[in-house]
Subunit: 347 residues, 4 copies
Amino acid sequence: MKKVKTAVVGASGYTGQELLRILLRHRGVELVCATSRQYAGQELCDVFPRFRHVPGADLKFTDSDVAAIAATGAEAAFLALPHGVAAAYARGLVEAGLRVIDLSADFRLNDPAVYEEFYGKAHPDVELMQEAVYGMPERHREAIEKARIVGSPGCYPTSIILPLAPLLREGLLLPDDIVVNSGSGVSGAGRKADIAYNFCECNENMHAYSLPRHRHLSEIEQELSLEAGAKVVITFTPHLMPVNTGILTTTVAKLAPGATAEAVGACLHRAYDGAPFVRLMGENKPAETKYVTRTNFVDIGWSVDARTHRLVLMSAEDNVIKGAGGQGVHAFNVMFGFDETEGLWLI
Amino acid sequence: MKKVKTAVVGASGYTGQELLRILLRHRGVELVCATSRQYAGQELCDVFPRFRHVPGADLKFTDSDVAAIAATGAEAAFLALPHGVAAAYARGLVEAGLRVIDLSADFRLNDPAVYEEFYGKAHPDVELMQEAVYGMPERHREAIEKARIVGSPGCYPTSIILPLAPLLREGLLLPDDIVVNSGSGVSGAGRKADIAYNFCECNENMHAYSLPRHRHLSEIEQELSLEAGAKVVITFTPHLMPVNTGILTTTVAKLAPGATAEAVGACLHRAYDGAPFVRLMGENKPAETKYVTRTNFVDIGWSVDARTHRLVLMSAEDNVIKGAGGQGVHAFNVMFGFDETEGLWLI
Amino acid sequence: MKKVKTAVVGASGYTGQELLRILLRHRGVELVCATSRQYAGQELCDVFPRFRHVPGADLKFTDSDVAAIAATGAEAAFLALPHGVAAAYARGLVEAGLRVIDLSADFRLNDPAVYEEFYGKAHPDVELMQEAVYGMPERHREAIEKARIVGSPGCYPTSIILPLAPLLREGLLLPDDIVVNSGSGVSGAGRKADIAYNFCECNENMHAYSLPRHRHLSEIEQELSLEAGAKVVITFTPHLMPVNTGILTTTVAKLAPGATAEAVGACLHRAYDGAPFVRLMGENKPAETKYVTRTNFVDIGWSVDARTHRLVLMSAEDNVIKGAGGQGVHAFNVMFGFDETEGLWLI
Amino acid sequence: MKKVKTAVVGASGYTGQELLRILLRHRGVELVCATSRQYAGQELCDVFPRFRHVPGADLKFTDSDVAAIAATGAEAAFLALPHGVAAAYARGLVEAGLRVIDLSADFRLNDPAVYEEFYGKAHPDVELMQEAVYGMPERHREAIEKARIVGSPGCYPTSIILPLAPLLREGLLLPDDIVVNSGSGVSGAGRKADIAYNFCECNENMHAYSLPRHRHLSEIEQELSLEAGAKVVITFTPHLMPVNTGILTTTVAKLAPGATAEAVGACLHRAYDGAPFVRLMGENKPAETKYVTRTNFVDIGWSVDARTHRLVLMSAEDNVIKGAGGQGVHAFNVMFGFDETEGLWLI
């Protein structure tokens, strides 16, 4: 199997760790560069002791410099940087000929006004933002194949968009009556010293946060509107769950007149029977985070509330894999002509 | 302080344990009887080792016989029995002159047809069911004062009804567009040997259950319809959370035209400023289960989603205290003329 | 009941919170002052939302000034400050006539050389250190009654000293062959922003720490040597457990020739049958942290390994109650003539 | 790569699940048979939903019949059956020409008297028990290569024997003064309905169990005595930890006169520098379970307590991988000539 020289920029957080975990065992990847300002000079396996003894994990973190990254001969670069920081690297890497998969929010939107509304400042590179492809292979595979830059979807959006997209596309749901509740494992908050994420604060606890408007709404509504052919505005409430990883989403939407549970099931099967990483649980079958953690799967169940003619969609994924690095590698596989599942049969 | 001779029938589950924990320290209670078929003859503190050395915890469990319970001279009886079993005890105890607080679902509904629809069989004592008062002191205090039998509310219903009731009563919400998501700690499933509640199955996991229709819907809709003056039908999805105790509820409802965040806050304050166990967190302030576990408080926050003109209500309580035994003791205090908070300043 | 005007100095950590939780409901305490540099001006119940609505919890935190504390008329002061900081307050408070209960390590040792060896600097007030009484009421009750200053024992030491003390005193164990392993809940590390105590780092994990020598060894060996009448040196390995609170200690010691399980049990019963907070589980009965968390109890079980003539002692307590604030209140009760259990029947 | 036809007998517990997880991705395995009385007729991925969509996971469980297993053409069989049940299958499978790796305790001992002492009954097939090789590849590689039947080591024994073995072999420790404390994740208790393993009973709790004598002592002492060239008798106390998987062992042993930390480190490096799955953390470096869960690694740290001339060994592994199925696959790799690490670079 051919090997693609690959760089990971900003690899020291929880997302970076999972991404490295996948890439170290991907048969089509030669990891040539991993950057981290904080850990420059240390081996990957010193920073992430899980990796000790694993072939390739003695690579040393380097500083995060565009020219140095390009000089490694890397053909592909994953950016696992904070929102707002990734944009500063993308232009230089793309111009140096690398194909870029950005795991931050910097290249997910196409409307600069929406970016500014949700992120509080103008986007620094609108042209590249508008060139970027939203990296959800189940929906944008062809565009990803040719993309120079991919904005890999957020963790919440992935769990919300995938079940809703085909149903909105086929008109089975009313686009203006959608209520979404999600919970995320604590790794979603990142690897940082903050008393709010101390064990004693999160353990034996659960609560909503980011009221009244979470930033991920922007990309969720952008993509759902595309599918519905109409402006979709939803109510979305994220929660912090006392688990390391996992996202659980419960979406409640008004069914279109005449829409049935059978029609919902048939629509989802049409959309996803060929999708390796989408697993349909069936009617009245919940998705459980324990079945998807540490994998690239998203599980989807559904239930019709006949008393209110509403549909309840239940979806589960791993926030740092399908919701981050795994989905990025999925896009990488599409971009570089590998089998979609290469490196991703994680169970 | 006067002492009320009190019996607890069926005291060996998680709810029974918390109820005993409260009653053992209630200054107005003389615990004269605790029954458990399984543990008859053993001391309370042998079954619940937390209680060792605590005054009164050397009481022995007895068998569950109505005549024997009455013979103890008990004036009050709490029933902590499974749904369907409680009704078999209530009539005899009431006729023996005891005032009964039932923690099961047997005496919460007033319509026998609804009972049959949700519980799958006819109610064995419709007359007593219709006499029973729904034991939510914040809403039915006067009726509780005089009641011979109280049906103490369910755990989910308490967290759902309390925030919604005043808003529906004052017409600030549309009654036909309410979506509720709740999560419960594993103690809500009871103290039983079932692989589904094994540590390894629940830990690091979260999922919905009881799709498409949970039994608690019946009492939720009964009480909300009373408040709204119109039939309220909601979509309710319960989830299992990886914590021992706690309920977190997120309710999303369409605001009436013109209703504002200020009006919502003012309405909630009018309703609950004098209620000792309802704590209003404020606008855009989430409720967190860690602040209410092991207490009789329910915390309520709210947030207006201006983009969709929906209200998000966040509420948290302890499922085995405010959602079970604590609320029962609150009703007991009202029935026997104690201060509402007697025995319940649990922090 | 008389009320003792009481101050808590440095009340904003996990220990401070539990101490306040107890004092707010202690019938003999009038809380006149709680200090916190970080939270000065805020109400207790704003910093600790669990306390909202509880009588007395609207007291405001003040700055930590000795003169200001004394000016409140306080007769007693608890110091819940970091090691090294407490000593700076103790002298002034004692001279102002307050009786001081220090929860830090500053007043637990009586040998200044040992203090310097384990804490890395000279003690700033050797005279007061040597006057201070080691605040373990089961062993030093009479001295505590009269003490101006009490050094309240550490969390690990309490769980280790209590089971060993009577056995060493009566010569049932060899004093030179004791191996102790303990685990502590994460609250033992304090309430601070440090990535090592992030939920994702502690959850689903366990490990030893503080190798090769934990500071608490100093007070453990001081007290055990007192009991044995000979220098006791032990091997002690602390571990971090993925729970909020609780200490579990397993002590393995060589039995003296001829010592039996029966003799061990009889000795422990002699020592503790009148001790309200020590519960003896029996032979081959483990102690479990879940039975003691949020209480002031320490549970002790024992088992004889006949194959090696060793004794295994198992003890459990709550690190922030019996291992901190609860034990301090126990000493306070002894100092001010209250019933030992006043405010401490926490179950 | 050649494919070995492989059967898994009794594959429906937590150990079976992890074993299947490994075998489904092992390039040298063709899984021809998985048995389970309870689940016969169902696909692997129905019983273990994690496996849905994974190639090979649509295999159906069959009943557990020796002739039927042999008829599949299997060359190798893993037995993941309860202790006492495995022996009933082993003889037939071996005589049918399969090479057997037994994950139960039935073939780990070589002395029938010791088996009877610890397991309470005579071994049903002493001849085969004595033929069996103790399947620890780091110590018995050559015997495993040729073995017809391997008794794969227990979870606790693996974490205890590996750090001690070279040190006893080289005389750095006194063989008669070893105290071992271990904790195991709840999966170690198996996948069964038992209220003792309910989430609410294990969560936020820790305790010792199996006092005064755990069955695993028998194999630990057998193997350590082999290494020491003298009878080794240890004190071993197992604990239940509130995590899904992981074993943490802290071993405290008296150093031989003159033995130093340097000598300990050098000895461990000599023994394990070529061992792919043993990772030496270094002096005063603890092993943490989070770095080894879901991998086949065992991590070992050490610390010398100069005050008592004792050595503290810290070791961590995953109880259902290195402590069960992973170690079995390691032996399988040795038996069938694969690279030792085939299928086991789990990170």
